[in-house]
C-alpha cells in the first residue's frame, strides 16, 4: 500500500522499480543507439584509419613543410625579427653557420638546399657547397666568411627566401599548382611560362572527363533503354555484354587497347580496309595513316570504354522502375512517339542520368593508368602529375597540393551539382 501511496503522492510516472519512466525510456533508447553505433563502428573505424587519417596527413603536406625550420632553428628564430630591408647582421650569420655545421653532421644540408632551390634556381649546389666550406671555418666573423664563400648570401632576396621558407606553414606548394609564386617582396606573381603548366593540366583533366562523360551518355542511354524495355530473357543475355567488361580489370582493358591501337595494329588496319583512312585523307583531316596510339583520341576512346557501365547501369536501373503505362497514356492522349519520349519518358530518367554522369565524371578526374598507357605526353591528367611529383621529383609537397586541388575541385563540383540538380534527386536505382 505504501508504494502505491508514494506513487500517487507525486505526478511522475514510474516504472516497476520506482525510477521515473522518462529516465528509464531514455536509458533504453541510449542502449539501442549504442547497439546501433556498435554495428557501424567497424566501418567507421575502418574509414577513419584507412581513409580519413592518411588523406588528412598527406594533405597536410600541401601546407606544412618543416625541412628548413627543423634544420635552421637558430637562424629561423633570429630572422623572425629581421625587417627584410638590409642584409641581416653578424648574429644571424653566426646562427646560420652553427645551423649549417649541425646540418652537415647529420647530412641534411641537401634537404635545406632542395627546398630553397624550389624558389632560387641552381641554389641547391650553392647551399651544399656553403655547408661543406663553412664546416671547415672555425670562428667568425661569420658574415664575412659566408659572403666570402658565395656572394649570393650578401643579397637581401636570398635571406627573404630563407625567412619565408623557414615558416613551417607555407602557401608555396598551393600557389605553385596554381602557377603562382611569391616574389622576393612577398607579393604574388605568375610563374614563368616554362614552368606554368598546372592550370592548363587541371583544365585538360576536366576537359577529358567531360568528353568521356558525354560519350558514355550518348552511347549508354540508348543501350540502357533497350535493356530496360526488351523482355527480361533477352535483357539478361545482353546485360552480360555490359557486365563482363565491367568485371574485367581496368589494367587488362587498357592493355588490350594498347594492342588494338598501336601503329599497324588491328584498329588501324580496320579503318584502312573500311576506307575510313581514305576518307579522312580526302577530307584533309590527316596525312597518310592516322596516328592513333599515344593520342588524345586513344585516351578518350579507352576511357569511354571503361566508364561506359558506370554511366549505363544507374540509367538502366532508373528506367526499370518507370512503368510502361506512362508511355501508353501519352500515346493514347495523342502524343507522337518521339514527342512522348521526350516529354514523358526522358524527364523521368533524369535522376539516373545525373547519377551516372556524376559518377563517371568524378571517376574520370582521377584517371592515371589509362592516359599514361594509351595517351601521349600531352594527355597526362592530374593524377599522372601527382605520380611524377611523388616518384620522380620527390616533391611530396607538390604532390599533396595537386591532390588537394583535385579534391577541392571535385567538392566544388559536387556543391554546384547539388545546388543545380539536388543530390536527393540522384538515383542509383
Amino acid at each position: 500500500m505504501a508504494v502505491i501511496d508514494a506513487a500517487a503522492s507525486d505526478t511522475v510516472m514510474r516504472a516497476a522499480d520506482g525510477t521515473p519512466l522518462k529516465k528509464k525510456l531514455r536509458q533504453a533508447e541510449r542502449r539501442e543507439q549504442l547497439r546501433a553505433l556498435m554495428l557501424i563502428a567497424p566501418l567507421f573505424l575502418f574509414i577513419v584509419v584507412t581513409f580519413l587519417f592518411p588523406i588528412g596527413s598527406m594533405l597536410e603536406r600541401a601546407f606544412y613543410d618543416s625541412d628548413v625550420a627543423d634544420n635552421l632553428p637558430r637562424t629561423k628564430a633570429l630572422l623572425a625579427n629581421w625587417d627584410g630591408k638590409e642584409v641581416p647582421g653578424e648574429d644571424v650569420f653566426a646562427a646560420f653557420a652553427a645551423d649549417m655545421k649541425a646540418a652537415s653532421k647529420v647530412k641534411t644540408v641537401a634537404l635545406i638546399g632542395k627546398r630553397l632551390n624550389y624558389e632560387i634556381p641552381a641554389f641547391k649546389s650553392k647551399v651544399v657547397a656553403t655547408g661543406r666550406k663553412i664546416d671547415k671555418v672555425e670562428q667568425g666573423p661569420w658574415k664575412e666568411a659566408i659572403i666570402g664563400i658565395d656572394p649570393i648570401w650578401g643579397e637581401v632576396g636570398t635571406w627573404a627566401v630563407v625567412k619565408r621558407s623557414a615558416r613551417s606553414f607555407t602557401p608555396f606548394y598551393l600557389l605553385g599548382v596554381l602557377d603562382l609564386r611569391q616574389a622576393a617582396d612577398g607579393s604574388i606573381e605568375r610563374m614563368p611560362a616554362d614552368r606554368a603548366i598546372y592550370v592548363q593540366i587541371l583544365g585538360r583533366t576536366f576537359g577529358i572527363s567531360f568528353l568521356v562523360t558525354l560519350c558514355t551518355l550518348i552511347l549508354g542511354y540508348p543501350v540502357a533503354y533497350l535493356l530496360a524495355t526488351i523482355p527480361q530473357r533477352h535483357a539478361s543475355i545482353l546485360m552480360i555484354f555490359v557486365l563482363l567488361p565491367f568485371w574485367t580489370s581496368l589494367l587488362v582493358r587498357t592493355t588490350a587497347w594498347t594492342i588494338l591501337l598501336q601503329d599497324g595494329g588491328v584498329f588501324s588496319q580496320v579503318i584502312h580496309l573500311t576506307g575510313i583512312t581514305w576518307l579522312l585523307n580526302v577530307l584533309g583531316l590527316v596525312d597518310g595513316e592516322p596516328q592513333l596510339f599515344k593520342t588524345r583520341f586513344a585516351t578518350v576512346l579507352a576511357m569511354t570504354h571503361i566508364q561506359l557501365p558506370f554511366t549505363l547501369l544507374p540509367i538502366y536501373s532508373v528506367m526499370k522502375t518507370i512503368s510502361p503505362t506512362y508511355m501508353r497514356a501519352a500515346k493514347s492522349l495523342g502524343g507522337k512517339p518521339f514527342y512522348s519520349f521526350l516529354r514523358v519518358y526522358m524527364p523521368q530518367t533524369m535522376s539516373g542520368v545525373a547519377a551516372g554522369c556524376l559518377l563517371t565524371f568524378i571517376l574520370s578526374l582521377g584517371y592515371y593508368i589509362t592516359p599514361a598507357l594509351v595517351g601521349g605526353g600531352t594527355d597526362s591528367m592530374i593524377a599522372g602529375f601527382i605520380d611524377t611529383a611523388m616518384n620522380s621529383e620527390a616533391n611530396w609537397g607538390k604532390a599533396s597540393a595537386l591532390g588537394f586541388m583535385l579534391l577541392a575541385s571535385t567538392l566544388v563540383l559536387y556543391y554546384v551539382y547539388n545546388r543545380l540538380i539536388g543530390i536527393d534527386r540522384m538515383k542509383l536505382g
Binding site: V106, A196, D263
Partner: protein
C-alpha cells in the same frame, strides 16, 4: 601530426613490400629489371643463394625519390640497390644512403675504377647510353652519328628516348653544335637549357618515351620506333639472345657507372655488406659479362673476360672514340630542377 604521418607513410610502404616481416631473413636486392637484372641474377644471386643465403629480387626505374621516401619514413625494405652515379651522389648528400666502409667490405678500393667518385656506393659496372636502330628499316644509308638521331627529314620515323632529361639534354646540345667537353658548362646556364629544349622540340612529336630499361629494345622490336636510345647491354642482349636485327651506334655514347648502394637505416646492414662483397668478386664480375655487355669496374676482372666479348663493351677502344662521361655531380646538383622543367616541357 608529423610523427603520425610518418608512421602512416611507414605503414603504407611496409604494406607495399607485402609484409616485410614475413621474410625478415631475406635480403632484398633492387635493380633496373630486364636483361640487366637477369645478368646480376645469374652471376651473383644464384651463387649467393647456393652459398646458403636467401635473396628477394625487385625492380625499379632508378627513382631516388623512392629510396628517399623509405629512409624518411624509417621503413627501409630495400637492402641493396643498384643506382646510377647521379643517384649515388644525390642520395649520399641527402642522407639516404649509407657511407661505404671499404674495410668492412674487405675489398681493395684502389682496384675499382671510379670508386673515389662516390662515398656512399661501390662501383660495379660501366655502361654506355647509346642508340640503336632497326637494320631492316635502313638498308642503304644507315644512321651513324648522333646528329642522324635528331634528323627526322633524313631518317623519318618515331624515336625512343628515356623519360628523363639525363643524356637527352646533352645529346641535344651536342647536335646543336656544342663540343662534348663544354656541354655541362652550357647546360648549366639558362640559355643553354633553353637551347637544349629547343633542339629537342624539333623531334618532340616523333619521340616515344620509355621509362624502364627493358622497354627500349621492346619498342624497337615491336616496330613502335625505328631507333631508340638505350643502355648498351639491353640492345646487345636483344641482338645476341633474341636475334633482333638491331645495330648499336656508338657515336657520342654517354659513359656512366652503376653502383651498389645501401639505403640508410635498413635492418640488414651486415648482410647487405656481405652481398656486395660477394658480388664484387673479380671472377663473378667477369662472369657477368657472359650475360650482358657491361664493363666490370674491378680491374682484376678484365683479364678474365672472354675475348669475343671485349669489342661489345662500352669501354672498348673503338667505342670510346667520341664517348663522353656523364657529369654525375652536375645531375646530382641540378637534376631535380631540370627534371621539373623537363616534366613541364613534356606536358606542353
Amino acid at each position: 601530426m608529423k610523427k603520425l604521418s610518418i608512421v602512416f607513410a611507414a605503414a603504407l610502404l611496409a604494406g607495399t613490400a607485402f609484409g616485410a616481416a614475413a621474410r625478415a631473413e631475406e635480403l632484398t636486392v633492387v635493380s633496373w629489371g630486364g636483361a640487366y637484372s637477369k645478368s646480376q641474377h645469374e652471376a651473383f644471386v644464384v651463387p649467393y643463394i647456393a652459398a646458403g643465403n636467401k635473396v628477394t629480387e625487385a625492380e625499379y626505374n632508378g627513382e631516388v625519390a623512392k629510396i628517399q621516401a623509405m629512409v624518411d619514413a624509417k621503413a627501409v625494405t630495400w637492402d641493396v640497390v643498384d643506382v646510377d652515379t647521379p643517384t649515388a651522389l644525390q642520395g649520399c648528400a641527402q642522407g639516404a644512403l649509407e657511407t661505404i666502409d671499404w674495410a668492412k667490405l674487405g675489398l681493395d678500393k684502389s682496384k675499382f675504377i671510379g670508386s673515389d667518385i662516390a662515398e656512399c656506393a661501390v662501383p660495379n659496372i660501366v655502361y654506355g647510353t647509346v642508340y640503336g636502330y632497326d637494320t631492316t628499316k635502313y638498308k642503304d644509308n644507315p644512321p651513324t652519328t648522333i646528329n642522324d638521331f635528331f634528323d627526322t627529314a633524313k631518317y623519318p620515323g618515331k624515336r625512343g628516348l628515356w623519360k628523363n632529361p639525363q643524356v637527352n639534354m646533352e645529346w641535344a646540345l651536342i647536335v646543336d653544335g656544342v663540343d662534348a667537353k663544354d656541354v655541362y658548362k652550357v647546360l648549366g646556364t639558362k640559355e643553354g637549357l633553353d637551347r637544349a629544349f629547343k633542339r629537342l622540340d624539333t623531334i618532340k612529336k616523333d619521340i616515344v618515351w620509355w621509362e624502364a630499361g627493358a622497354q627500349a629494345p621492346k619498342l624497337l622490336a615491336d616496330g613502335n620506333v625505328v631507333m631508340t636510345s638505350a643502355w648498351n647491354g639491353r640492345l646487345y642482349n636483344a641482338v645476341k639472345q633474341d636475334n633482333k636485327p638491331f645495330k648499336i651506334v656508338w657515336d657520342h655514347q654517354a659513359l656512366d657507372w652503376d653502383w651498389w648502394a645501401i639505403p640508410k637505416g635498413g635492418p640488414k646492414l651486415d648482410e647487405a655488406y656481405k652481398f656486395i662483397s660477394f658480388a664484387q668478386d673479380a671472377q663473378r664480375m667477369a662472369d657477368q659479362t657472359k650475360y650482358i655487355s657491361y664493363g666490370p669496374s674491378n680491374t682484376d676482372s678484365v683479364p678474365k673476360i672472354a675475348a669475343d666479348m671485349l669489342p661489345n663493351l662500352p669501354t672498348a677502344p673503338d667505342n670510346l672514340k667520341t664517348a663522353w662521361k656523364l657529369d654525375a655531380a652536375f645531375w646530382a646538383d641540378r637534376g631535380d630542377e631540370i627534371k621539373e622543367r623537363f616534366n613541364a616541357w613534356l606536358a606542353q
